[in-house]
Symmetry: C2
Subunit: 134 residues, 2 copies
DNA sequence: GATGAGGCCTGTAGCGGCTACAGGGTCAAG
DNA sequence: CTTGACCCTGTAGCCGCTACAGGCCTCATC
């Protein structure tokens, strides 16, 4: 690929993203369609690299595609206050904390279940008992 | 519906499940197809109620449909040892613990991010900085 | 210039676990 | 006999990818 621009495979390697995922991001509108070479290959510039890196970090932090889209939109309005950014991050944190609480409760329940196993036959299995109707 | 048998709506209410979900469970083979009335309505018996309750509790505990299917199969082999049951539960617990660890790390990262917010303009937003490429 | 390997292209379908229709049939109360 | 609540099938959508199939492009090598 010519100077400065990246093929989809190169962009994929540069961002630890699969090629199919990049095309999916393009389809879903979060990564703009790049120009094409004469042969029809996508040719990405540094802007695409930066944007995809942003998306990947956001995904690693658990933000949804929609949230990332909103963050990217906000990032373009450089002299507005950053409260909206803060709000998205806080909402996501709250969601993470809800999931943590749920999973913690789940772990306790599962551990209690497993602790009751007497390693006998299925007929007297307490794990199955706990699942069977009361 | 006649004595002892339940319509799909009644079964749904009895198990806090949506009607569509019950039909989905039947399609996916985890709940057996019930007999039908002359008008073509599903007519569920106590066995179905018990089985669906089991499935629901399993789902509430985070087991996958496949795991629940395996547990149900095991539950039928009453004089085999219950090690396989134990193994499924332990594996699920391990998975839950992995997710807990991941979410905990995520929470720390997000909290750090949010703690850096200086409530200025978008241009100087540290949350966006943290997402933007290095 | 032919060939072959490895990339790239589009389009479509699948994952899990539901959920939500549309467009009909059934049934019991009044 | 009508009304309205229920039920039926079939299909499509959600999220965030992932995995093909069946081709085209490019480049190095002979």
């Amino acid at each position: 690929m010519d100077g400065g621009s990246l093929s989809i495979g190169e962009l994929a390697r540069a961002t630890s993203t699969k090629v199919e995922t990049i095309r999916y991001y393009e389809r879903s509108g979060i990564l703009p369609s790049p120009p094409r070479t004469s042969g029809g290959y996508r040719a990405y510039g540094p802007g695409h690299l930066a944007r995809l890196s942003f998306v990947r970090r956001g995904r690693d932090l658990g933000f949804s595609i929609e949230q990332i889209r909103a963050l990217l939109d906000l990032a373009d309005q450089r002299d507005r206050p950053c409260e909206a950014v803060d709000a998205i991050a806080r909402e996501h944190l709250a969601e993470v904390e809800r999931k943590l609480a749920d999973l913690g409760a789940l772990r306790r329940e599962l551990a209690a279940l497993i602790g009751q196993c007497r390693h006998g036959t299925v007929a007297e299995c307490r794990i199955l008992d706990a699942l069977a109707p009361a």
